[in-house]
Subunit: 259 residues, 2 copies
């Protein structure tokens, strides 16, 4: 059992929690909680850590597992946990590794393109919602928040394991590739002329979603075939970025279910 | 200028930021940032505080205002601010005071009923989205998170000033009142049989939205006329509560625009 916060493994865990550089160097991330750990694909799970209390409560099932967990005292576990009330289980997991082809494989793609999104909760919620809406993949500009940030991972509610995604250095080039595949590019834009619910999303569809405060970068917005508007009442100036993405994606889902 | 964190006004501000009890005793809340403060209805704004830097930058416009602001040193302002990077302006604002009649006044109500929602960001996002979707009011069970929590206020993006709402001790009684007004009650429920996009929302409509982790309390769910399901793909078990509410509300908006 690890009893000290100056233990080398503990120091490493803390680096993985706090530093994207440390995560990316080792190509790992951390997921916490029995649900997130339970949904981890077996081949991606590198190392399991549990608190003493968790170990004593779940000893039998833990001993059946192939990857024998490392036990930390409750205090040390709380020290490495990213949450205020740790469940007592976390895993070090191998980062995903998708290519553009993984995202384009489906016959009628339904893709989100995220430009400079900065809020970890928003990006996590977009992943979770995208899975539910049947989206086929997510492209992100390099300056989006790190998907492996613990808060983002938590908000994905497991969709991180199942939703193909890719960071791109050149988002415009990525969008051009989508166009070559006959995917229609829609920018969610406050100055859009076309109401989002008047378009036909039964063909290949991609939505460009911009930064929470500033909206879409104009160079990116110019890449779109169509600028969409979500009609709003009251004095609301805009929607939360994840909410806007969710409303668009579920309109696609609604139309495709209708056939 | 206030230069000390032990100043009585500073202590009071901190209480208003941190304690719902202090807010409710004085029937006030705090909004931060030039946008939130700028949208405050004049008659509700009780007291304005700015940082020294903010004051020096905006002196002319601030001196034109009726309610002369109190200036705090930047350090003291940062101490009372709820944000990591304070903009340097906050206001003490009188709490709203709606009655059920305010929520039922419109000819075809579009109401959200929130049961035990706990996440401040979720509730704030629901207010913001509700305004944009043209909802007419929000009812909340007494055990929902405090709407006047600084994080909730921030996520409403100003909708707090414009969206009528009410906390109810007896949510079931409130729902019965809606029914008497011929408003159809829909529960958003994972076990719902009816797909949300097959219902007709052009008449009076209310949605019951449950707790983030546990969904709707069964006593509340039983009050509904219809249980709705948002069809989901993948292994997604549920949507974020604010997202589910947003998708339902924008389906109402879509149908009502179509006429």
């Amino acid at each position: 059992m690890i009893t000290s916060t100056s233990n080398q493994k503990v120091k490493e865990l803390l680096q993985f929690q706090k530093k994207s550089k440390a995560r990316n160097q080792e190509r790992v991330f951390i997921a916490e909680g029995s649900r997130m750990v339970g949904e981890t694909p077996r081949k991606s799970l590198l190392k399991l850590y549990v608190s003493e209390t968790y170990y004593n409560k779940h000893r039998e099932e833990l001993e059946k597992m192939k990857s024998h967990p490392e036990v930390l005292t409750d205090t040390v576990f709380a020290y490495v946990s990213d949450t205020k009330s740790p469940q007592g289980i976390l895993a070090v997991i191998r980062q995903m590794d998708y290519r553009l082809e993984d995202i384009l494989r489906k016959r009628t793609p339904h893709i989100l393109v995220l430009d400079n999104l900065q809020d970890p909760g928003n990006v996590g919620t977009i992943f979770r919602t995208a899975e539910a809406a049947g989206a086929t993949g997510i492209l992100m500009s390099r300056d989006c928040v790190d998907i492996y940030n613990p808060k983002t991972i938590r908000s994905t509610m497991g969709a991180i394991y199942r939703m193909p995604f890719l960071y791109l250095d050149d988002l415009q080039k990525g969008i051009r590739t989508l166009k070559e595949k006959n995917i229609r590019i829609y920018a969610a834009h406050l100055k859009g002329d076309n109401s989002y619910d008047k378009e036909d999303y039964r063909r290949g569809t991609a939505f460009l979603i911009g930064n929470e405060g500033n909206g879409l970068n104009s160079d990116i917005a110019r890449c779109a075939d169509t600028w969409l508007r979500i009609p709003m009442e009251g004095q609301a100036e805009s929607l939360n970025a994840a909410m806007a993405a969710g409303i668009l994606m579920f309109e696609v889902s609604r139309q495709r279910r209708k056939g």
